[in-house]
Structures are given as structure tokens and as C-alpha cells.
Amino acid sequence: MNGPVLTLFVALIAVLVVIGAAGLTWPRQTRPMVGLLAGMAAGLCGMLALVVLLLPGPSAGLVLPVGLPGAPFSLAIDPLSGGFLLLVSIAGTAALVFAAEASPADQPNPTPALAIAVAGLLLTVLAADGITLAFGLVLGGGAIWTTRDSAASLATPLALVLLAAASVIVALGLLSPAGGGLLFPAIRDHPPDALRASFAVLAAIAGMGALLGIAPLLPAHHALPPPAAALLSGGLLPAALYVLVRILLDLGRSAAPLTASLPLLLGGAVAVLLGGYRACRSEELDTAAACGSVRQSGMAAIGLGLVLLGRDADLPDLAGLALSAVLLLVAMQAICGTLVSLSAGAIRQQAGTRRLDRLGGLMHAMPITSLGLLAGLGGLTGLPPAPGFAALFLLFQAALAAPHWYGLGASVLLVTLVLLLAIGSTLAGIALVRLVGMACLGRPRVPRAAAAEEIPSPARPALLVPVGLTCLLGLLPGPAVRLLAGGAIGDLTGAALAQHVGWLTLAPGAIAPGYAPVPVGLLLGLGIGGAFWWRHRRTRIDGRTAPLWQDGFASAPPWLPFGDPVTQWNGTVCLPSWPAVSRPWSKAWLGRIHRRLTAPALALIAAGILLALLAWSARP
């Protein structure tokens, strides 16, 4: 079954590229049609991925008649790639439908570039050799960044993507046997020695870590249109995590697990803390949403570190729990991350600003977008029955099952990790309260935000479908994990998945079923229903609305129609400020290098490195 499906995937990727390329040359008025066609193609890719997941079969491969001389593109479908294909397709479809239906008429429509980006990301996940994987990454990442505002520089983000691709080439070059041509089957058949594999894995972590941790924080991210930012968050970041999982757990099996585990745990901890902190301090809605992506990537990195720790200690249960958590986090990033970015972008478009202190009261004017923002941010938090809680639960159980025999240092690290997971989860909750509270609740702060309108009806499914998927993911995390990577978790960790992820429970123990979201959700519903009944039992008192009590402030003058600004929270101070750190380039010689290392120079250097690596990888 997988063979014909792979052929259909290739056909759909070609269709996406053709639609995108043609859309670039067609008149601007046809862009919505281009977006819808590309959205349908991406949706079909998602359905094909579902077929792969529901009817599992043996892995299938395909060599395309295109590629580098002597190194044609090689593709394959296996249990791991199926789930990621589904997630990238969902993010791509939502972004393309939104781009087609909700892009402002007076601004460049990004649909053609996004169609090419979705094709590139799908190619990344389907790749069965290093060249195809790097090409897909560059195509996907590059096409996303080309949609930015012309005022923003393209060089730095492009350099980042090129360096990530270069790191992949280095990693796979180190892993592949001589003459293997970076093909995955050759690497699996002839694994390298532990030292080479460890260096390869470290190179992959460095490249993908930079992409995951820095890309959402680049200044150019501000200049991306909403659907492009959504595809970056929900498509590129999951694809980068897929590359990490593929290299760390599949191709680089022979590497010493602890070599990679420590950088992942430490880097993940830093990303969780900094991403969460910045999300709570940022003064702009979309920047805060992007920082949330960094926090999410950090949690996934911690999960991957725990998987490797379990592999090192020969504890397949620990590795299985942690990998299940990682896959749930990736699914959340693809669905909730897309939802948050699209909602934040819709608010930016319709309310004319991204600044939190100029928003407010959008729950009345833009109820569906507000619901999207609430559901997306709520899904990322560790509050039951959100999917974020299921992921946190699995990560916590994995930390609990972690080996204790590495000594005091490791114990301190483990306690710190749990502390950071808790803080990261709380910071996600604070970000939810702050962003939804500032943008959607309360009173409008400026007339422009008060005049905001809901996005057009045809674009609303791009928000409502992910909202529904978030609810499903929260209530049924077990089936979701089993669907996305049921076979892959067993293959990669040796764990029996059914022992850790049941249909209705997560991490069941010998006498307790662990976390059971459906009963918890039902009991919560019963409690809410009981309160509702008590509130309305035998009382028929209708509520009334009244003007605000301004806490003793005098009434606002007529020229402040939304009240005195001092009577509303400006949201700028939520957490204590970070201690100032002197920048390393304050020193003279570092400053000189920093000045010369302009963005175009960086892009040129990265492209040069990539070319050199390609030449090296093509060695006989």
C-alpha cells in the first residue's frame, strides 16, 4: 500500500510546486484561487498520510529521476514519517486556506511561496537521503522567509536555514559509509563507530537547535505575513524536530547516548526558560506567540534528552514514555502553534496593530479569532484536559522513571529539569492569561482596535478546524500518539507502547491507570454542570450590565472614549526584568568582527559551506 501512496505523494508535491511557480507569474487577482488549489493539494497530502497511518504496511522507497548529478532524490515512507507528514499537511492546509481567504487585498499575497514551502517541508519528511533532506529544508524554509516584507533582510534567516541544511549534510556525511551517498538504508546497514556517530549527532543538534531556537526570534519574523508565520511555527519547526528524531534515534543509533543527551537537556532547559520568559514579557502579540514556539521546542528537546538517557540506561519504558511526550509536543506545535500564529496574525491584520497595549475587547468584535487564540494558547499550557497537560504528564513520568545511579550531579540536573518543566508550564499559563486578557478581554484601548472586524467567513475553517483538533488531542492523547507513531515508538525505543499509552489512559502503572483525560473531562463537566444547576435552581434573577466601577478614579474626559488608559493594565510588567548581561561584542576586536559580519556576508558564508559539504559528500 505504501508504494502507490508514495507515488501519489510525489505527484501532489509536484502539483504544489507547479501551482506555486505558476502562481508567482499569474496576476495578483488569481492568488486566492492559487491558495485554494494548493490548500486542496495539501489537504489531500494529509488524507494520504492518514491512509499510511491507518493501514500500516512495510516501508516503501522511491528514487526520483531528478536531483544532483549522481545523487538522485530518494524518498521513503515508514512508520515515523507518516505522523509527521500528517502534521505538516494540517499546518500547511490551514496556512494556505487562511492565506487564500484572509490576506488583505492591498498587500502581496504569499500563497504561491507558501505552496512551494509546503512542498519543501513534505519533501524533508519523505527524504531517504541527506541531499533530499537538505534540499527540502532549504526549499521549505527559504520559501517561507521569501514572503517577508521587503523592508526586512532576507539574508540572516536564509543563512540560518542554509547552516541548518549544512549541519544535516555534515551529520549524514559522518554517519554514511564511504560511497554510501548519504542514503539512509546504507547508513542503517553500515552504522559508523560511536565516535563518528557522536560527532554527527552533535552537528545535527547544533544545526537544528539553532533553527528551532533562533528562527522564531529573528527580527524578520515580524515581517512575515500571518500564514507564513503559522507555517514556520506549525510546519518548519515540526519538520526540524523530525530531522532531529530521525538522526538521533534512527540513523545515529551507534552514537554514545549521553553525548547527545546532555546538550539536549541543557539546551532544552534554556529554551524553556527563555522562551517562556520572553512570551510573558513581550509587548507584541505575535512575538509572544513565537517565543511560545521556542518554549515548546525546548520541552521537546528535554524529551529527546530523556529518550537518550533511557537508551543509555537500557530502560526502554523511560525512552518510550519520553518519545510519546515528544510526539505529543510536536503534534501540539503543529496544531496549536499554527492556531496561535494564525489568530495573532488575524488580530494584527484586522486591528491594525500587534502591540498589546493597543488591543483589547476583541472577544466581542472577533469572537472566532479570540476563540482560536484562547484554544491555541490553552492547548499549549499544562492545564487538564489540554494536550499540554498530557505531554507534561508523560515528561514528568519519564523524569520519575529516570535512572538515579549517576550521582549527585545528575540528581541536581534532574530536579532542575523538573523545576524548569514546572516553571515552563506555569509561564505558558501566564502567557495565556496575559495575551488573551490583553488582546481579547476587557475594554478596547484605542479606536482602531474597537473597529476591528472578524476575518471573512471562508477563512474561518482555518481556525475552527485546528480548534476542534486541539480539543480532540486534549481528550484523546493516547489514540493520537498511537496513530501518529504507534509503530515507530516501538521500533526506535524497544518499548511496548501499549504499556505506556493506552487508548484512554497515559502512563498507566501497576495499580493506577495514570492520567485518563476522558473521565477527568467528564467529571469536570459534571462539576461545572452541578454548579450551573445550583446557580439557576429556583432562581429567576436576570443579571444586569452596569458601567464600570473605576476603582475610585474620576470619569474619563470625552476625548478618551475608552476610559482613562491608567485604569487599564498595559501588560508590560508581568514578571521581574531579566538581569542585564554585558554583550561580548562590547570588546573592540569582537566589535570589529561583528560589524563586518553583516547579514549578506553570513548568507554567502553559509551557502559556501553548504556547497563545500555537498562536494565533500559526493566523494567516491
Binding site: 538515579h404 478581554l441 452541578g530 434573577i541 443579571g543 493594565w569
Partner: protein, 304 residues
């Protein structure tokens, strides 16, 4: 019979929690007043307050969204579910398999987050200040609570509350010092919760406010039960041990409750109410204690 008694015990537990929570809150206020040399109001004053509030007309701010109406319901629902999962007089009730400490911590966080959102829905400075206070409390409190869960989970071999209480009853929780420190952290958190209360309640009126008052009382009872169940789990029988076990369990639960009320009231009388500026210090103390408990439990735990 095997299913009926646990279900009956669960129903009795829910009824006990909901019906005694306001009375316990009233008793605590009365004890504090007596210790301070005042007469104090009746134990049942909270019930009178609930009845009064329920018959008042709700007033909503002009800018309020449907969230303001739903928040008290969700907050109450989350806290009543959390209280349902914490055992009081028996173990092995119907919902015991779902009584994971992480779920209970998550439900407490859910109640706090929904209330903070609703406080911002008013669009007033007072609501925003209340929401910010609540979030600062969450930052230290939830982290400390999860570290306590780590310590207890390591000592008992799982995070299910019935499992933890069973292990504590059997004396299988090791090292004891970690458990004692973890429970101290829980106690500090309980004191903080008691002192801070629900600052967002000022944004609600009538039946919504009544629900929040009931939820606040439930949260106090939940903390008392949680600390009591982990630290002094004596007398808690199996749900199937009816009627003798239930009777002993109810009596010991009453004793635990009385002890906790005495300690809380005594602390308030001796140390006074902690001001908002001292709350972060208390939270840091809870965090330090919880970290130390986790570290101790990890270093003393044997190989998996």
C-alpha cells in the same frame, strides 16, 4: 458489593467535602477570632453568606464577555473535582484510580487561570492587579507543588494519591526526611493560599461570587486533607470496610481537621496575616523545601 461500597464511599466523600467546606472555613474564622480575644461569628456564617449572595441580582461590567459568567462555574467544577480526588476518610473510592497528584495540581492551576482571565475581562485596574497577583503566586506555587509531587512519587513509586497514602500507611515511604520536608513545603503553600485567598473574587457578584466563596472553602479543605492524608494517614480504612472502618475513618478525619484548624488559627494569631510583600518570600521557601525534598528523594532512591 465490590463496586457499590467504593461508589457509596465516593458519594459520601463528595457530600462531606461540599457540605463541610463552608463550615470548616467558618470554624477557622471563629477559632482565629477566639484566639485573638474576639467573640467571632457563627461557624455557619459562610452558609448564610452563600444564601444571601445567591438571591442577589448579578451585575456584570459592560465590557464583560461570556467568560465572566462561565469562570465561576469552571473554577468551582475544577476545585470540586480536585477535592473529590483527595481521600478524606477511606481509601479505594471509585475515583481513586484517577486521583493522580499531577491531575490535582493541574486542576488547581486550571481554577486559578480561569479566574485570572475572568478578572481581566472586567477591564479595570483592580481586576488586572488581582490577575497579576494570582499569576505570581502560580509561578512559585505550581513549581513547588510539582517538586513535591516528584519527591512523593519517588518515595512511593508512583504519583497516584491512593498509592502514596497506602505507602505512607504501611511505612514504605523512604527517605522519611524527604517526606517531612515535602509536607512542610505543602504546608507553606497551604498557608500562602489561605492568606492570599482569591483576589479575583472582587470582580464577581451574586451567585458567581457565592460559587467562588464555596470554591475557596473547598480549596482550604482540599489542602488540609492533602497534607493530612500524606503526613498523618492513620485511620483511613478501605472503602469496603463498612461500617467499622468508615466510622473510624470519619472520626480520625474529624481529629485531623480539628488539629489542622488549630494549627492554622494558631499560626495566624502568632504571626499575623502575611502581607503581599512577604508572599514571594514564603513561595521561595516552599520552592527551596520542595527542591531539597526532591533532591533527597532522588539521592536516596535505589536503582530502578
Amino acid at each position: 458489593m465490590n463496586l457499590l461500597l467504593p461508589f457509596a464511599a465516593q458519594c459520601v466523600h463528595i457530600a462531606l467535602m461540599v457540605l463541610t467546606a463552608p463550615t470548616v472555613a467558618g470554624a477557622l474564622d471563629w477559632t482565629e477570632a477566639r484566639l485573638a480575644g474576639r467573640t467571632g461569628v457563627s461557624w455557619f456564617a459562610p452558609w448564610q453568606e452563600l444564601a444571601r449572595l445567591r438571591h442577589k441580582q448579578p451585575v456584570l461590567a459592560q465590557s464583560a464577555s461570556p467568560l465572566s459568567g462561565a469562570a465561576p462555574l469552571v473554577c468551582f467544577g475544577a476545585l470540586v473535582l480536585a477535592a473529590t480526588l483527595v481521600p478524606s476518610f477511606t481509601l479505594g473510592m471509585s475515583f481513586a484510580p484517577f486521583a493522580d497528584l499531577l491531575v490535582i495540581a493541574g486542576l488547581l492551576a486550571l481554577a486559578r487561570t480561569v479566574l485570572a482571565l475572568a478578572a481581566l475581562d472586567d477591564g479595570t485596574a483592580g481586576g488586572a492587579i488581582a490577575a497579576r497577583q494570582s499569576m505570581v503566586l502560580a509561578l512559585g506555587g505550581e513549581a513547588a507543588l510539582l517538586l513535591v509531587v516528584l519527591a512523593l512519587g519517588l518515595a512511593a513509586g508512583g504519583t497516584n494519591l491512593d498509592l502514596i497514602v497506602g505507602a505512607a500507611q504501611a511505612g514504605l515511604m523512604h527517605p522519611s526526611a524527604a517526606i517531612a520536608i515535602a509536607v512542610s513545603a505543602l504546608a507553606v503553600l497551604a498557608v500562602v493560599q489561605r492568606d492570599v485567598g482569591m483576589p479575583e473574587a472582587a470582580c464577581f457578584s451574586a451567585s458567581g461570587l457565592a460559587l467562588l466563596r464555596l470554591a475557596e472553602a473547598l480549596r482550604l479543605l482540599l489542602w488540609i486533607d492533602l497534607i493530612g492524608a500524606v503526613f498523618v494517614p492513620f485511620g483511613m480504612a478501605s472503602a469496603g470496610d463498612f461500617p467499622a472502618g468508615w466510622g473510624i475513618g470519619l472520626v480520625t478525619w474529624g481529629v485531623r481537621l480539628a488539629l489542622a484548624l488549630g494549627l492554622l488559627a494558631g499560626l495566624r494569631t502568632a504571626a499575623g496575616r502575611f502581607s503581599w510583600r512577604r508572599i514571594p518570600v514564603l513561595l521561595m521557601l516552599a520552592l527551596l523545601l520542595a527542591s531539597f525534598a526532591g533532591l533527597l528523594a532522588l539521592t536516596r532512591a535505589g536503582p530502578v
